[in-house]
Symmetry: D3
Subunit: 339 residues, 6 copies
């Protein structure tokens, strides 16, 4: 089975240690983006995965491509060209000080790419699963068109699709998001998103204060079931994050499929090393789980353990093996030295 | 409104990561000291603040001056000369291993400065608030004289004064401290200090075991009220720290003003990134609060949130904006990524 | 009193920060091994201690020797020669992600050393205590012979001996371990080991799930008493670790001596900075305690505080002074800044 | 005397050590740009200097402002706002491998600023010298207008002006440059530029192969004299660089003033630490020289020594004192330890 | 055209900066080996290249594989298994202090691999050029057999072969080398080696003191011609290095082909950043040149410029593009900033 | 043979890379001082050497002691106590930018030590050679007394003495130096010093401009011979440094002994990595040479090669082996990789 993802990959510049932006005399460099992170995760599980995007034909772009190749991502479907690689600056939070992100992603190569540059029939010819997040259509009007065309092509080719709603208020309004994304849902097999995403991207409503640190699982069960019902998804999934502080979160994941609700065991992630990419690693874990386990509970447990582990690893991407995820999913969270 | 602070700024040399002194092959460099830290904090809130001190006229001294200018501190009132910049070595603690400080500050330029070098009428001419800590008079007999003269001049000029008692057993005895500091109190509007400071600097007594991790707030209420009564302070304030370990502290602040007691909400700081400068950031937050909010509770909440945030930031100084402090003071300690 | 330890010291290559192996572009370098770590600890307590081992006569070997001399270890009993220094790669875990160790220690100089290279009568002539761990006989058949000869020589010379069972499944099977180690026990005065070590190395059985995070102290009391009875040890000791996560452990130590059981106070180590060498620092603390305190409870408290502190320090070795250990053992775990 | 400069300041991201872009896992951070570099240099000489520019009102922008304040630059004339701070990536060359620059500066705050945002009468009210480089008008059509308005206002206010031609082929064509810059020249007192700049920006021609490593000084004498004659400049200056390799350059500077030609002594800079900002430090040295020395030869020697020293210092900006420049200008290039 | 290379890739651990081994507290990490370096170079030229080797199936091995994938090397022909990855420690020299290499490569996975593990008919099926160096047969008797089988298979498949003699005195004697390598030569199309290699590996003699810093090109012309004649090589090539110091070398390359001698222009590499891999980058440049240029002089110039550039780049591998090599080969060694 | 040296060891804080003081956000840490450097060098040659000094009894002092033990220096003769360890700040120069040293060494433990604290009869009982530099008596009046007493005791014990004049203008005037040092000369066997030292410390005159980069060897021959004659030294030696720039020096050494003059071969050190400690490594090389070679030419060559190598190594101390020095002294300065 081969997977493809479509979206932006950015240069990430993060302050070392616990430094604030105004203290930094160097930035740590990595490359990441929602769909790229999913592709890297899948490759780390031993799968074949390709990223479809556009990256400028300069040295910074080449370094970005290399970072994907390093982990085995198929980069042959990447267009080279455009003006710049999008950038985001990250300052990692501690205790009650939140992480800060400063975006400098406007006019990136992929945001300015045109629909006619992508021949999805060809790009998806050797692929069985396509994954996109809601960030891709939010980049530009062209990006929204490209996203829709990719999803349509996938359905024509009989490819399974998953879509992580991932609303980003800095990129568009919820009105814009809904106008663009609701029409896409009919081409989506599996949707991923929490209550805020569902509300902003699809107009869904759900009670519950996510900043309180306490979550009502039952409400998520209802939300996911209703999403499936309304849009005809094969499945709908969400992570359940309790944000106690920047360095301590509760974490679990849930899936509604075939009318049943599956909720993973609960993890207390403390300390969090890097929570960026946590959601993407959940998507990747879920996709892997759905394509490798018959029991949905196993898929959910895999997705939860995978994404909990991600948050103990620096960088956007999740560097864990299937064996490591299964070990944690099987209950060993003791952290004893492996030697 | 313009603020001035008077005191020593030192070169801080700290071991990287969790290294002990005997392991260090490099030291991280920053510059800090009680009053300098207050000035930097105020500048980060968008205020004008100057540091009055003496710094040697060599490259290390220049780097120190630059570090103040970087954050907007007015360095035009700094004398240049003397033999050396004071130094302190810092080893940051973890869990039950405490942080260690090795002082090498004897004979610093400011400790050896003479009273006649400072023309406070002129230095304070454009200032409305003067802040000093008890470290300044402890540096030398001359420093004690300079401190007293500064306070007197402030009063003559109608400047509001605040004084952070800050007893340092390595610099003088409590007998010496009391002899020097009690006479200064009549020139002080706002005093800051915990039970140990009050006892050592002013001869005050208060029960309660600060190493137990449990604090009796009522005793602080009494202490602060009595301090105001005895010395005629407009206000008296303290932080309430519960030291669970080197990396986990409980934290709140309290103020007694106009016969009323105000206690901030409680913060659990875990992990602490750098607790040095926590008290100074409390002083700066309180000064800002007293000069910007009508409600003393708001001032206290601002001071508590500001100083809690400081302890999540490496270095002596507090790099947070008013907006960030208000956000935490308003109750959002979830640490969710700001993007 | 002078101590000697016999065993392998390796080059340790660890990933910086929280990086995984596949992310590392540099490795932090230190040198460590069970018995070397004990020798360094003892020297840090102001004692004289020597390491007996074999180290290759090249620059990497010299750097290793220097690292021992740096902390005062007597390196005059070290043989120089052989093909290579053993290496281990370390990736430090966080939260539920465990630390990983990759060994590359086969064919090291000490593993390939021959019994006739060591004249223990001479090597131990100025020594009153000999400490070895179960790793040493596990290295090779020759190493097992060398271990036995060292223990025999020690007994002939009237030297006290301690033995840390320390089973390593990657080096041998439990059958091999028992065949080699049981005959050694008659030359051992003090044995150290937890329930797994006792089971694997000596064939002992004990119930209790060490991954559950809850420990039944009573079972340890029985185990240690029975060990003493069966093998005629003067004392038997163990650490009691509750592994909540890679960065949070409960910790205490226990000793059975003269028919009585002594259990230290309990420490919550959170965050753990580096748990490697925790057991070795316990051995060193216990050896120091047994030779410096009349009260076994004091010895146990010393060993527990020492080894809890170790886990807050990066590297294999424990850089704490007697004064620091006593301060923690006396109850001050508040982590307040020492200044 | 107070100086102002007008232009863009960018975030500079450079690879550490001798790494190529594709090897970098971190970037060193500093902030620089032609006119900002001149302002920092002048402040390091103890002068007052302000930068006029526009910087975004986010944390990266604040870090940029702080970097200017650190060295004493007056930042009160800086507008805050706009979308982004321009970025340039730098890979430092060695031997025959040239340094590489990747620009990502489009749509920066200053490039998108509008002429009406700048009230030059007010901005230049306290200033006696204005310096601009040819990069500023090249940023955008608005920037060209802003440049022209600044120069006009300066002349109306009786302010001396200097202009560093600084042609950048990546920003505009020589036709565009000439159309914009030639009309500006009548407001310029002192022009700075080498033969390529004169040709591209003003349509001047001069023979000589600058890549050959050999320069014909006589031709520069003619060029500078003709520039003065044609445009009525008070003076015209240039650096004379012989590029032997990325790490070894010959260096001198020359000035034509009052009909006379002054050529500095020659420096062999080997190794070059960082040649970026070499030209700007020459401008700053020349401006300082012209305003502090009666003898033009002294001014030229100062400019040459200052800019030679810059190339031994990492970063865009020149951190040398007047005393250090004079020492080198006076002939001591022995590099003996100052102690 | 697709290339394959066969040989060992090692973990390289180098001291940072100019540190000696006994000073290092960290090692920089990269992965390299003669044949791997050739494969990376070719991929950086936009070609397809695969490495055939055996790498252990652990995290260190995976990091090694990733380092190859990062630069586009086809890693699908790599066997996974065996005990360990070979290691070499590198201390970079300066001035008259030479670089030091400490090998720890015995018993590596590839050295212990058996001939029957490699099915060269299959491994080379999609390949048109095979490159091996003399290090591969030196690793072990099995490695020598594997090398011979690879060469035979290549000839049977009509694949062009190149062989870099590369004598390593630490791996075998010249007698052993000659016994193994002379029989291989009949399967070799292009041989690469200097006078020492020719002497040690093939029993050739040539006068000239390579430590003198002066080389007699005419002797190389004769040597290469005679090598071609004696072994029937299509071509024979060598680099001509003048070792003035660890950081300053003269450098050129030469090729004898079709009875004619081609000598590249001469480069003065000063400073050398990293000379390790210089020879491999010459091989890669020559292979690229021979397969892309009709004129042998062009091929030689390409190989010389490529390998000169390599020595300005840290690490084993050469990260330059065809465009960059051609620019230097065309004569621009001025090192002027590319912007 | 066992050596002792007497003098101050300081904490050295140097800026990383080519940074200036005002740019540094961290300092590299090492420990050094003239006599300590000599002791470390001798230990690196496999000799026994002790440092006699006084070091404060705090963590920074302990780190300093450890740095000596690391390289095998006997630290048992070191007194512990006093207020502080002297510090010096170092900024390494490049090209025409000189290295800068900022001293902060006043009131160090050794400078404040009293003569009665040192029982030289006992301290020197196991020693055959005593080495001191002119820095030691310059530290304080007490230090001068201690120096004299040490020299006297050495002579009474029949110990050979060497004295490196080493004039430091920041510590005393030449009048003070001569008053203190001339009376010491009668206890000195071997004197080391260049023309400036001889002039400042002993009132000697010699022509020649040391900043010119050209040296007149004949004048040195005369100077050394006259020094021997006037003071009855067994030998007098000097280094001959031609300072072309901060990173390029010519270097040789010379010795006058038994009426004959020996001059080493000449080295071109380019690039210099760290010239601090160059003179000390010359002293150590000379002492080693005089005690191990019969031929004075060999001793001189050893001293020259040793001290040339030092300048290619970061830090104060010389980490080279006898084998490495002999290899360079024998003429191989080609810097070819040792593998």
């Amino acid at each position: 089975m081969k997977y493809a993802t479509l979206g932006e990959i950015m240069l990430r510049l993060s302050t070392p240690g616990a430094q604030r932006f105004v203290q930094a005399k160097s930035f740590d460099v990595c490359y990441g983006g929602g769909e790229a992170n999913v592709a890297v995760s899948l490759c780390n599980y031993g799968e074949e995965a390709a990223l479809i995007t556009k990256i400028p034909d300069n040295d910074i772009g080449q370094a970005c491509v290399n970072s994907l190749r390093e982990f085995g991502v198929d980069t042959s479907k990447i267009l080279r060209g455009g003006k710049r690689l999008g950038i985001y600056f990250l300052e990692t939070g501690y205790s009650m000080r939140p992480s800060q992100v400063v975006y400098d992603r406007a006019d990136s190569a992929i945001a300015q790419a045109k629909p006619e540059e992508f021949d999805f029939k060809k790009l998806l010819a050797d692929v069985q699963w396509l994954h996109i997040s809601g960030i891709t259509p939010a980049l530009s009007e062209n990006s929204a068109k490209i996203t829709l065309e990719a999803l349509k092509a996938a359905k024509e080719l009989g490819i399974t699709t998953s879509f992580d709603l991932n609303f980003r208020a800095k990129l568009w309004t919820k009105e814009q998001a809904q106008a663009a994304m609701i029409p896409m849902m009919k081409f989506v097999d599996y949707v991923i998103g929490n209550e805020e995403d569902a509300q902003n991207c699809l107009g869904f409503q759900m009670d519950g204060d996510v900043t309180s640190g306490k979550l009502d699982v039952a409400k998520y069960e209802i939300m996911l079931a209703e999403l499936c019902k309304k849009y005809g998804f094969k499945g709908a999934a969400t992570s359940l994050r309790e944000s106690h502080s920047a360095t301590w979160n509760g974490w679990s994941t849930a899936l509604s499929i075939n009318g049943k609700f599956y909720h993973s065991k609960h993890y207390d992630i403390n300390p969090i090393v890097d929570r960026v990419g946590g959601g993407d690693s959940f998507s990747a874990g879920l996709i892997y789980g759905l394509t490798h386990f018959d029991d949905p509970q196993q898929a959910v447990e895999f997705s939860a353990a995978a994404s909990a582990l991600k948050q103990t690893i620096p960088g956007d991407t999740n560097h864990v093996t299937v064996k490591e995820v299964l070990k944690l999913a099987s209950g060993d969270a003791s952290g004893r030295v492996q030697r």
